[in-house]
């Protein structure tokens, strides 16, 4: 157990390290920086500008800047935002919380839908119900998430049934707890719908394929011959047998939902990492962008780590150290 955990943790650390290096490397490719835009501003004198440049150390070589930044990171300091003139970490955290809320709920919902639907479909492989579901997923698959988000937004705006932007209503601070939760859920419906619908078809196909494959296995035939009930057969025997690729897929689905959430947030005005990063890019706010990318990688790595743990728990081959 310890060895497996250490191995996965080492892998995660390597990923984060690599991503931070990549992000810094890209930043050297960039001509210009935040302060170059200021040069055009007649209100800022040349002396003030060079003082600012010295203060933020934008002119020092990249290796030095990286070393300083990584050293600060060790203390939980993600650097300083040029545009907001405050440390990056608290800024990012408030946005990341919202993204996490949206993505986490969407992940949960998608899997709660994909698993039973996939099993249901695999059980009826080739029958009309299964074929109809396959067609439905194919239709959903060709609708890009951007189109879906915009379409649903138009529907919501026209009908007025659902709130069309933001995360909470005006006066959220004074609501009671129950009212707060209701309000939040009410605002989440639309972005969640987009995320779930855009991620569902792919997952559904995988669950169906994996369970259908497991149902072919001889031991299931034998179990069926023993008169074990259909439901128990499907959920207790076939699903665990199909779990391995599905758990690996869990990490992938997390990445998809994180990426998808970025678009959805920008379209629906959800105050998450997506719109925040976009604005940071447009303002060339170096450390905010690096911090945001690193944070999203951290989410993903954490998700994959959880998937690995789950795999360890589910798959005895890995526990014995013979699998993979």
């Amino acid at each position: 157990m310890m060895r497996f955990l250490l191995q996965r943790a080492g892998h995660a650390a390597f990923l984060l390290f690599g991503v931070s290096i990549l992000a810094f490397l890209f930043s050297t490719l960039a001509p210009g920086n935040y302060f170059d835009e200021m040069r055009l501003n007649p209100q800022i004198s040349a002396e003030r500008l060079s003082a600012l440049r010295a203060e933020y150390q934008v002119d020092r070589p990249i290796t030095l800047r990286y070393a300083r930044w990584a050293g600060a990171l060790a203390h939980g300091d993600l650097g300083f935002s040029f545009a907001y003139n405050t440390p990056v970490a608290p800024l990012l955290w408030t946005r990341a919380r919202n993204t996490l809320l949206l993505t986490g709920t969407a992940t949960l919902l998608v899997w709660m839908l994909a698993l039973p639907l996939g099993v249901w479909s695999a059980e009826r492989l080739g029958r009309p119900a299964d074929v109809a579901l396959s067609w439905a997923t194919a239709v959903l698959l060709i609708i890009p998430d951007l189109a879906l988000a915009l379409g649903l937004l138009i529907l919501a705006v026209r009908s007025g049934w659902l709130p069309t932007g933001g995360m909470v209503s005006v006066g959220f601070g004074e609501f009671s707890v129950a009212h707060k939760i209701r309000d939040l859920a009410w605002h989440m419906i639309l972005p969640l719908l987009v995320l779930v619908v855009s991620a569902l078809p792919v997952l559904l196909r995988h669950v169906r394929a994996a369970v259908a494959g497991a149902l072919e296995a001889p031991f299931l035939r034998a179990a069926e011959g023993h008169g074990i009930s259909r439901k128990r057969l499907l959920y207790r025997y076939a699903l665990p047998a199909a779990a391995h690729p599905l758990i690996a897929l869990f990490g992938l689905s997390l990445g998809t939902l994180l990426s998808g959430s970025l678009v959805v947030e920008a379209v629906m005005g959800w105050p998450g990492l997506g719109p925040f990063l976009r604005d940071a890019i447009l303002a060339r706010d170096l450390y905010v962008v690096i911090g945001g990318v690193l944070l999203s990688t951290l989410f993903l790595v954490a998700g994959n780590f959880a998937a690995d743990l789950l795999l360890y728990w589910v798959d005895p081959r890995i526990r014995a150290g013979t699998g993979r």
Binding site: L22, F26, L29, A30, P144, A209, S259, I281, L282, L300
Partner: protein, 350 residues
Amino acid sequence: MSTRSRLLICLAALCLLHLGVACAGFFAPYDPAAQDREHPYAPPMALHLVDARGGIHLRPFSYAQSLRAGSFDEYDENRARVIPMEFFVSGSPYRVLGLLPLRAHLFGGGDGGTLNLLGTDEYGRDLLSRILFGGQVSLLAGLIGAGLALSIGLCIGAAAGFLGGWRDEVLMRVAELFLALPWIYLLFSMRAFLPLAVPPLKAFLLIVVVLGAVGWARPARLVRGTVLSAKERDFVRAARGFGASGGYLLRRHILPETASVVLTQAATLVPQFVLAEMTLSFLGLGVPEPVPSWGNVLASLQHYNVLISYWWMYLPVLAMVPFFLGYLVLASLLQASGGPSKIEEVGSGV
């Protein structure tokens, strides 16, 4: 129908669709950047065959629209001013595939009127023309980006699989790095540090390069897997035993084995990259105005008033649906013809 003939039909349909966009100048009635400040946000014009007095015309026609006095976006149909639809007219100059200069258009408004079949945008630019020309930019970005990602992926994957050892280890670790990131964040971070205000052509090239640089990892991993298994096949061992050089083995025996994986990947990557370009342009980080792309044509929908008042601005979204359908069918057919599916291959659609 056999898989092969289905594949051919699907390919033919896709070729037709792409040809239509490649000849956007001919099918589009107007220059996509030509503004008509008298007609901002004009709704789509209806084509009629029957006029107000009940007379039937063979040539479709439309009524001119003019801004209602005192309004900035409400139009009145001017029943007195008929704009006939004329075919094969000479209009604004364009170049087919950037080479052949022409002035011929499939249709246009007669009697000096303009025919905006899908309405106009905030500057009175013809939306149909913008969608068609925008497709050129978006599809080209997707195609070239996928080509780039596949070539990089093929080289790295083949090298890793064939060489093996520590080089394989290093290359695959780097690939994992690129796979681990949510790709759109990676795209964002790469885009973040490149110049913001750039001419359209440079922005286009930038996007293509960024797409290729971000997307190579998955094809590389798949190619590596195929190369690894092909390397151990009997005929490859036999050829090696006969003294074939590494280069010859790779070129003659191993790379052909990867063809089906590469083709399937191509069919899944192109729509993904088209969508990526759209997303970037939609968010204002891609191809800048006035050059249209499917993304920046949609960008005005980010304004609430556009979203509620001008439904036709949503139409560009529908333009890509047939393309996505074509590529999806192509990918699944290629997969069906390329042997048993692996979870990795299907997973690339995620």
